[in-house]
Symmetry: C2
């Protein structure tokens, strides 16, 4: 599963506001992305005869790593080695590369620790503790408070819980809303920002088959990478890391997937689903297609431009294939019928109990009403974007940051609370390169699209253009900025609101003009939409508890979950897809396509042909329930050993955003045996393989 | 493409009577199964820049071979070597096998000509000449004749043309109705009945992946076999045989497929399609599923029973998968809409021209009326079956043959005309083994099904049972017959109607009782249904000529056609299917399924692992338009060389029965390079490979 595609739409402010998620009654086999406090122990024992102990779960939790802003991973050696996907590492690989050294295309291996390569802006999180703070959060809302005040009070309470926790423990402290606000939990994370790159194969091996094979199976990808977490210049020593299974996943085996699924929409109300189908998805697809065209055109200018654009092209193609698949799923016959039936059954249960009816029944109407209210401003919310790929966002963040820091924590905009500042600064001051050519084409196209969609008289558009053509505006913005230099950004932030107010940097000037309009939109969205949909969502969440109990999992929230399932093939295209592929299959696919891109064999693999045991399993599938964000999750067996590495879902898994169905929906992983075989026989990384195998 | 599945329903008398086929207006790219007198030369020249010459077409025609009653093939050496599919040869392989020697499971190779193995009942046909006899056939119908007389007159005229041609040329002479009777052609065939088996791999190599992989792609089958045609004990010397391309089919190449497609229903009227959807297909699927269950249960008794049943299991599974796919195609959303739109457009054209309207417009109503008339007797027509797998049919054929021989040729039942008798006798007196155990289970189940469907009071059912239970009846029938001995059958036929009338053979006695009822049904079907639908079909055929001209091909009729297309992959399952597979893929599939049946590697192939060049293309796909009956067709390039061997269609091709669509509909073939690689490196058939390559 790829990174959350939302990260590739940085300029899109509020594409699909008012997403409120529910969960359903009876579960399908192997369904669920479970929080660690509420694992389906009974189902596991009944179906598989295996019941994870608290110690087993604690070990898995402490060996699991959240990687950056959209991926998962795990410790696989006592010396802080972190296994994740190549495509999760792609952003860092791109950032440490240059016109002279292309680690994306060539791969990377640090034979000694001195060779390990510092990553500019990768943060790793390990979930240290979980505390139910529902009562504390809800206590902030006093009887009779109007909805806008209530929402503010709740947000202030959350910020305060986070601030106090950070102060007390020094740990990253996030309050997460589960079950649509049915519960609030304080999650504390150990944070690593000193991370080095250790190993990555060439992208052609990691992403073999390219965009065509992406999200499909049978598959032949070595989608892996290894980082090492450091503290104060030394590799961290971790007590909890996952042992390796050299034999790896076997057909029919029970497996677990700890990881960080990003978001699911399994229990949106019908009104929300309709909004997604009719507005949000068509809009998203349109924007992504256009963005892809622009960035591909930029890449076509030359090899260096292509190198710069490669990560973004991957990201947009990936997101586009996923979103198209999800959209097709929603448009398929029977989809809405199925969803309508589930909602009707739930609401019937609620309406049959007078107390429940009084407490919860109006929530659906409230959500539907909020969506109707949102629609007229939807276009504005979608297309008032910050121009450029990175610079516009950086400028706006600086302008907002220095303003927010003037306020008490509880009054700040989300994203600028005390507990969030470390991570924000880490990203904002990242030394990762910014490419002016790429910025320029993105600025020009964003401005053009704004004009087309909102018209030249929209005040936001006017502010961006300032009487210039998009091309002129882009040139002027780029000529007048120094924000590509992280030291300049730091100086502005350190200089506070005065420095920012005095700045003549073109992007800062623009951001100052846009900031009031962005704030107005955020406030309107909070006061008019979120203040209605959030308590309505909480009501529906509580209604679920009342009607179905807590034998359920919350929708995904990019927090640690554990899924489980069986290694298992499925019916495909008139025949059976096997539970695994082999290196034979990789060679078959290459020769089947006459070794043409994107099916060409990487030279290193072709050269290793005689050394590789071609019968070694390469990729495999299981029924575990995952979604974007799970990329890089380890697949572990009942003994807690790594038997594989999650990297994708098959084409049938797209509907997993809306419901789980194990007929053909499968998680696709790299087999643990392939990882060792490749490191030893293809990449000469014998020493690293030994570290993973615990032989060192 | 597999043999016509109808052959596996020998007891089904008239499952889908009144099938009348039309053809459509504008053609899709590469569409069509063309007769050699009407090749789409203009399209070929325009799209591919290649125009087959008359000499090229004549050579292809004379090198093409019709194999048995459902397959295709070609001469591939001057010494009468005929290449076809293993699954076309399967019936003969089964018949020459015994409990001691299982050529189906083990394969066969005759290293010298003395080792070549005589086939009991395989007839090969080569199309020597084609003559348009439409005027002669239609002249038999005089103005004012009633429909029943008109049909009789036409049939008599056809029989007479065939008889005279046979007498004059000694060649098998068949009048074939094309374009639904829009044209009648006399096809003369050179016939070979002295045929020997030369080579066949083990079924596990030929039918690798078994029923799951059947009708799918990517695929890895060595579905090939070689026969040799003899005359008077010597291999025939043929002037026209196909040269071999060792390099074989290449991606994007133009290819031709000469062969014998069995039947298509592309232009049934809507009324006929509805009948198929609502009656014929559900019934067929039900019958086949039941038959499969019965024969599998028999095979499960032991290895010898499984050996006996293997061919029939293959045949039914094959037919069931095809029919299920076709049925799903008909039930898919949009199918009937598409068909309705085509018919509406055609009828509009006809109705807009007053002359056409007067001549043709009532044909659709007449067909619809005949179908309504058929429905009440449909069950009877479907379930009044001849009990057993082979003996019942043999007995009925003997009883009918001796009766028909008393009549002048023109008055006989179809199938008993003078021109048809040689082939009939060849099959009727075949020394192929008959297995009493298998006959018994088939008789019992046929009788049980008759009782369930028609009730015990149906006179036909009563005649079969004669007061006994199905089990008792089966035992008595088998105990009282000697028809398993071909000499006994021959003696009865030679003894004529007296010998048959005097026979106390249990099956002959039963057949004498059933014959009048079978004749009544045939006559009713001719007088009430065919006499209406046949001229109505002719009208629609002529209406097509009027409206669209003759830039079209007739529906398939198991006569020689040439299709053409491009070697080309297609979109599949979210990604691309390549145009070919390789031996690497075969090994991948085996190891992906842990070498479990039906994906286990044949021992010979596993042993040859180091010798085989695994990058050799194994199977490939092209857009050529085929259907059941094309099995064994050569795929030839523009130079007329064999580049492959057709053996299947992919799962997307099932709708090809009803319309052609080249988006994903593909013909699947064995690559010519794979055939040579396998013969040389796996089967030690170097000498035979040299004969094919012309190196001898």
């Amino acid at each position: 599963m790829k990174k959350l595609q939302e990260k590739w739409l940085p300029g899109l402010l509020l594409l699909a506001a008012a997403i409120i998620l529910l969960w359903s009654g009876p579960l399908a086999a192997d369904e669920g992305m479970w929080t660690l406090d509420n694992m389906p122990l009974k189902q596991l024992k009944e179906k598989y005869g295996f019941e994870p102990t608290p110690a087993w779960l604690e070990h898995i939790r402490l060996a699991s790593v959240r990687v950056g802003d959209g991926g998962s991973g795990s410790f696989v050696s006592p010396n802080g080695l972190v296994l994740t996907n190549h495509h999760v590492a792609l952003g860092q690989l791109q950032k440490v590369s240059s016109a002279q050294k292309n680690y994306v295309a060539d791969g990377f291996y640090a034979a000694t620790s001195a060779d390990e390569l510092p990553c500019p802006d990768l943060e790793l999180n390990v979930l240290i503790s979980m505390e139910n703070v529902t009562a504390k959060v809800l206590a902030a809302v006093k009887k009779g408070m109007d909805p806008v005040k209530a929402l503010e009070a709740k947000k202030a309470a959350i910020a305060e819980i986070e601030r106090l926790s950070l102060k007390k423990t020094g740990l990253r402290s996030d309050v997460v809303s589960l079950y649509q606000g049915g519960e609030y939990w304080l999650y504390r994370y150990k944070k690593y920002t000193e991370v080095k790159l250790v190993f990555a194969p060439e992208q052609q091996a990691a992403f073999y088959g390219g965009d065509p094979d992406n999200f499909t199976y049978p598959r032949h990808d070595l989608d892996m990478a290894l980082f090492r977490a450091y503290e104060k210049g030394k590799p961290v020593q971790v007590a909890h890391y996952l042992k390796w299974s050299a034999q790896g996943a076997a057909d029919g085996e029970l497996v677990f997937i700890p990881g960080h699924p990003g978001s699911t929409n399994r229990l949106m109300t019908l009104a929300q689903l309709r909004f997604q189908r009719e507005f949000a998805y068509p809009l998203r697809l349109k924007v992504m297609k256009r963005m892809l065209e622009v960035i591909k055109k930029y890449g076509a200018r030359g090899p260096e431009e292509m190198r710069q654009a490669a990560g973004m092209i991957f990201g947009i193609e990936n997101g586009l294939k996923a979103s198209s698949g999800e959209y097709d799923g929603m448009m398929a016959p029977g989809f809405m019928k199925k969803k309508a039936a589930a909602e009707a059954e739930f609401r019937k249960l609620i309406n049959e109990n007078p107390q429940w009816q009084a407490e919860y029944a109006d929530a659906w109407k409230q959500i539907a009403g909020a969506i109707e209210k949102l629609k007229p401003r939807q276009k504005e919310f979608s297309f008032r974007r910050v121009p450029g790929q990175r610079l516009g966002g950086i400028a706006l963040q600086i302008v907002q940051l220095v303003a927010e820091l003037q306020k008490p924590d509880g009054k700040r905009l989300d994203g600028y609370h005390t507990s969030q500042l470390d991570s924000l600064r880490f990203r904002l001051f990242s030394p990762a390169p910014i490419y002016p050519g790429m910025e320029e084409v993105m600025i020009v196209d964003t401005l053009k699209q704004m004009i087309e969609e909102l018209g030249g008289n929209d005040p936001y558009v006017k502010a961006c253009l300032d009487g210039r053509t998009p091309e002129e505006a882009a040139k002027a913005l780029l000529a007048g900025t120094k924000l590509a230099d992280p030291a300049v950004r730091k100086a502005l932030v350190d200089g506070g609101d005065k420095a920012v107010a005095a700045s003549t940097d073109s992007f800062i000037v623009l951001a100052r003009k846009l900031d009031p309009m962005v704030r107005e939109m955020r406030k309107w969205q909070e006061d008019e939409i979120e203040s209605v949909t959030r308590p309505a969502g909480e009501k529906i969440g509580q209604a679920r508890f009342a009607a179905y109990g807590k034998n359920a999992y919350p929708d995904a929230t990019f927090t640690l979950r554990v899924s489980y399932g069986t290694v298992k093939g499925y019916p495909m295209n008139g025949t059976l897809a096997p539970s695994k592929t082999t290196f034979y299959g990789l060679f078959d696919r290459a020769f089947s396509f006459d070794n043409k891109f994107p099916f060409n064999l990487p030279r290193r693999i072709a050269d290793a042909r005689e050394r590789i045991d071609l019968a070694t399993p390469l990729n495999f599938v299981c029924t575990g329930d995952i979604i974007g964000g799970n990329s890089g999750s380890p697949v572990v067996n009942a003994a807690g050993e790594v038997v594989g590495l999650v990297f994708d879902g098959n084409i049938e898994s797209f509907v997993g955003r809306f419901f789980y169905d194990d007929t053909a929906n499968r998680t696709v992983s790299v087999h643990s045996a392939a990882i060792i075989e490749a490191m030893k026989k293809i990449y000469g990384a014998e020493k690293l393989a030994q570290e993973i195998l615990g032989q060192k």
